[in-house]
Symmetry: C2
């Protein structure tokens, strides 16, 4: 069996998210599996590095699948990009060792979140950013980023209920860049719990706009209570940029 | 009567273009007029600086309308952006002298055209650029830009039939910039005939890829025959950036 790894870019606007839901035609995984199944004439299942929520985008989602097909990779990528909808694009494909598993082997991820920081909305950024026009204190937000970085139990910054699995994660980078009217937040870490980036983002914005204290972050780490953290910002500002694997 | 000038941004993807077509709900002008008519409770007609084709976008379309309404401009802009679809945004409004006419007074326009210059398409740029993967000679394209600049009869580079109106126009700037995988073409001139930017673009790309000679430009200026020029590139790569008026 060949093991094939794909890098996938998608505009999540029209989809219910990455993960296949029964026969629904409205997930990224489902769309790709359907085309691969047509292409190889045997049922194909793909393993993604992780799920993305409805409306969330990806510039570098990684997935793998196994197949007996003898088709050349260059033909496969052409076939996929011809038959996939235009908002899902396979950027590259490569053959990997049989043991490669896109989810289990993922050692880290990079996400971007964009805020459209103007009073007037943007016709072009509407599906790719969160429109937020409150005045923001960037010094305070940078301090908040520093508090969030490092190794912590992030369960209070997630939508998870109590679980036996570890909810400790390490954030290696959390930085803020102004790019014209957009504010670009970058998150790099060894893993992110469900909705963690979006709740950290909501907390950063509420601290920056003065509706939440900087110290609230310490309390969420200590008491692990979701309702002490900030709002969950909308999915459409979120991009999965990169998934890291050991070479 | 007050005369009010608007600057409008729109994502043209879902629309049949700027110009109202009967009762169709699928034009930018129609959408804005409907909301203004609701707002002022009298039938409003707006005058745009010019039409844009189906799928073409605008970052700075200018229009004006006359009204008896006493509503403050800040309330008007809020009303419009609340009820317009999210892909049409009024960026600003100001009161102008009664003689101001968005079309007759326009003295120039700036357009951008984007080419996604990669073999693999882009999920995000699909509606905002033309995917063209032929190898391009930028030196040749720059020479072609120089030939196109200046004052010429552009009828051969337009979709117009013979007309009594002048088809002479002046292009003041035509420049090419690489922005990552995108190629950004900028056109500034005193006016552009129907489809002129898209046909000049097609001609530039065919010269750049070697399927048309540089000298073809002189022949189109001389013989004024549309079929001697290049292809008409798709509307979705085209943006109306700015309309110029005398102060």
């Amino acid at each position: 069996m060949r093991n094939i790894r794909l890098m996938i870019e998608y505009d999540g606007t029209r989809y219910l998210g990455w993960q296949r839901l029964g026969d629904s035609d409205k997930t990224i995984q489902g769309k790709i599996e359907n085309i691969l199944t047509q292409m190889t004439r045997t049922k194909v299942e793909i393993i993604g590095s992780g799920r993305t929520d409805a409306g969330t985008h990806a510039r570098g989602q990684i997935a793998n699948f196994k197949t007996d097909s003898k088709m050349a990779l260059s033909e496969m990528i052409e076939f996929l990009n011809r038959y996939l909808p235009q908002d899902i694009v396979v950027k590259n494909m490569e053959e990997v060792p049989e043991r490669f598993h896109a989810r289990y082997n993922a050692e880290g991820k990079k996400y971007s979140y964009y805020v459209w920081h103007e009073v007037i909305p943007s016709a072009f950024e509407r599906n790719y950013s969160f429109h937020y026009s409150e005045k923001l204190d960037f010094d305070l937000m940078n301090e908040a980023c520093h508090k969030m970085m490092g190794t912590h139990d992030f369960i209070g910054f997630s939508s998870l209920k109590k679980t036996k699995k570890s909810t400790t994660r390490t954030i290696d980078e959390l930085s803020i860049q102004k790019e014209g009217s957009l504010i670009h937040f970058t998150f790099v870490g060894d893993g992110f719990l469900h909705k963690m980036v979006r709740i950290l983002m909501g907390t950063l914005l509420e601290i920056g706009s003065g509706s939440m204290e900087l110290e609230a972050i310490d309390e969420v780490f200590e008491h692990k209570v979701r309702s002490d953290a900030g709002m969950t910002v909308p999915a459409q500002g979120l991009f999965l940029d990169e998934v890291y694997y050991r070479e």
